[in-house]
């Protein structure tokens, strides 16, 4: 494995019971780069993040993070690896019973023996980086969607992780918040020297900040390249996705029997 590659996924497949989600994915995430994984809802993007984080085990293939096989890790090894990872969940997943400050300080208090004065300085620095130092006394319920996402971002980078994973960080945000979060993701990656994995279906925002893009559909990688390659692509799937066309390789209709047949059988009333 190349030392330049932090995450290497080779032929990884995954299924929930008999329902296949991923079928033989190959992917490389180079160190220090911001890689976006895009695809329509339910295509297996979040599953891929959970596999990398060790929350799920693949049904086949090899998945290495920093040279170590994630599925073969013991519980302690997995927790040791997760201490070097940061993850931002779709809706932030902030702890609602503690303040913004305590949310960001959470990991420092759990995993380090740092004195409280130092934790205070570090938390305020992290909050300052996301522009919310002035909101450190607020409770999560008092934050807007965009602010909550930024606090979750500060929490994800609390211990300067080697790998930061974002699960739909733009979901449900207004265009201004979306731009702010996008720029923060890029700047934090470069400032921390981290590697970023961004799962999103927001094409325009992702193409602005990513170094490399993978398109996933029906559990397979259907296209990949730099943002310039993607914009210039004539691949029907990429074209449909980038320009948001209603029909194309990704069908508008959920698979069903022909409408006439359903009408005749009277099932339309069921």
């Amino acid at each position: 494995m190349s030392a330049e590659c932090l995450v290497r996924i080779t032929g990884v497949s995954f299924a929930y019971d008999d329902r296949p989600i991923l079928g033989g994915i190959d992917m490389e995430i180079p160190r220090g780069k911001l890689v976006a994984i895009m695809g329509n809802s339910g295509c297996g993007k979040t599953t891929l993040l959970r596999l990398i984080g060790g929350q799920l085990k693949p049904t086949g293939g090899e998945l290495l993070v920093d040279g170590q096989s994630v599925p073969r890790m013991t519980h302690d090894e997995l927790y040791a690896m997760r201490r070097r990872m940061g993850m931002l969940f779709q809706f932030g997943a902030l702890f609602t019973d503690i303040s913004v400050f305590d949310n960001v300080a959470y990991l420092m208090r759990e995993h380090t023996d740092l004195p409280e004065e130092m934790i205070r300085d570090m938390v305020l620095m992290k909050l300052n980086a996301v522009g919310l130092r002035g909101a450190h006394r607020l409770m999560p319920a008092e934050l807007s969607g965009g602010m909550a996402r930024r606090v979750a971002l500060a929490r994800a980078i609390a211990l300067d992780p080697m790998l930061i994973m974002y699960d739909e960080p733009f979901a449900g945000l207004d265009p201004i918040s979306m731009g702010v979060i996008g720029q923060l993701i890029r700047k934090l990656n470069d400032a921390l020297g981290a590697t970023t994995l961004l799962v999103t279906h927001d094409v325009q925002e992702a193409l602005l900040i990513a170094d490399y893009v993978y398109f996933v559909s029906d559990g397979q990688i259907v296209a990949q390249g730099t943002p310039e390659d993607i914009r210039a692509s004539t691949d029907p799937f990429v074209h449909q996705f980038v320009f948001g066309e209603a029909d194309g390789p990704v069908h508008f209709h959920y698979p069903a029997v022909p409408f006439e047949e359903e009408s005749m059988s009277g099932m339309g009333h069921a």
Partner: protein, 264 residues
């Protein structure tokens, strides 16, 4: 006809299978709680916080209910005892009813409704909003950090609440029997003192409430952790916590009582 019968048998089989799976998962869950309790105890303030939320905050409902039940016992007991000219034994009746049965059982039922349901709701909502997953991804074990402190908080709180319930209940019986009805005060207390055995009555009551506390707390944390992460799923889990806890308390009471008072 045959098809319907087979379908019914299949459905029963599925339900039994599901129930056994849940029971197995609950047993593993308890083993995990015990396994990670050491980590949890090293940060005792987490458990103390839960004793405050589950125990201290349930105090008002426990004390008020205890007082009312003691007063009702005083009235009902006097009405029955005076038919046999034994109204002086009112203190014994009130104290034994409370320490042996009503104290542990009623306070556990109240605890399940007040604290058990709130524990299930809290853990269930944490699961629905991905807080437990986030914790796990941060290399913080949710069983050690969230579940074990709540379990032990309930186990510690329950005997204390039951003891307070009984104490206030005895006072309620005294208020009605001695102050309002006029039963002899000396007889009320001395007969109680002479007839209530510390081991047989008080200690067994404490043991019962400890077991009820463990059962209710386990059901509450398990239902929260196992909740389907939707609004409807959490609501169903809360309902199950209250129903299963009540059934578990009454069933365990029967079993414990038959062991404790055998041969008497």
């Amino acid at each position: 006809m045959l098809e319907t019968a087979l379908e019914a048998i299949r459905s029963i089989g599925h339900r039994v299978n599901d129930a056994l799976q849940t029971l197995g998962f609950a047993a593993r869950f308890l083993a995990m709680i015990l396994l990670y309790s050491g980590q949890s105890f090293r940060r005792l303030r987490l458990t103390i916080r839960e004793v405050y939320f589950s125990g201290f905050q349930s105090l008002l409902i426990i004390l008020v209910s205890g007082l009312f039940i003691g007063m009702v016992l005083g009235m009902q007991g006097y009405e029955t005892l005076q038919r046999y000219g034994s109204s002086e034994a009112l203190g014994v009746l009130v104290a034994l009813s409370l320490t042996r049965e009503l104290g542990p059982v009623v306070s556990a039922l109240l605890f399940a409704s007040r604290a058990g349901s709130s524990i299930t709701a809290e853990i269930g909502l944490m699961k629905a909003t991905e807080q437990l997953t986030a914790m796990d991804m941060m290399a913080v074990n949710p069983i050690a950090r969230v579940v074990a402190p709540r379990f032990w908080g309930g186990v510690v709180s329950m005997p204390l609440l039951a003891a307070m319930f009984s104490a206030v209940g005895v006072f309620g019986g005294y208020l009605v029997g001695v102050v309002l009805i006029g039963v002899d005060e000396g007889a009320f207390w001395s007969q109680m003192q002479g007839s209530v055995d510390f081991y047989l009555d008080v200690w067994n009551g404490i043991v019962k409430s400890f077991v009820f506390g463990a059962a209710v707390s386990l059901i509450a944390v398990f239902e929260g952790y196992d909740a389907v992460p939707t609004a409807e799923g959490v609501s169903s889990s809360i309902k199950r916590t209250v129903v299963y806890s009540a059934l578990a308390i009454l069933a365990l009471d029967l079993v414990l009582t038959s062991f404790m008072f055998r041969g008497i």
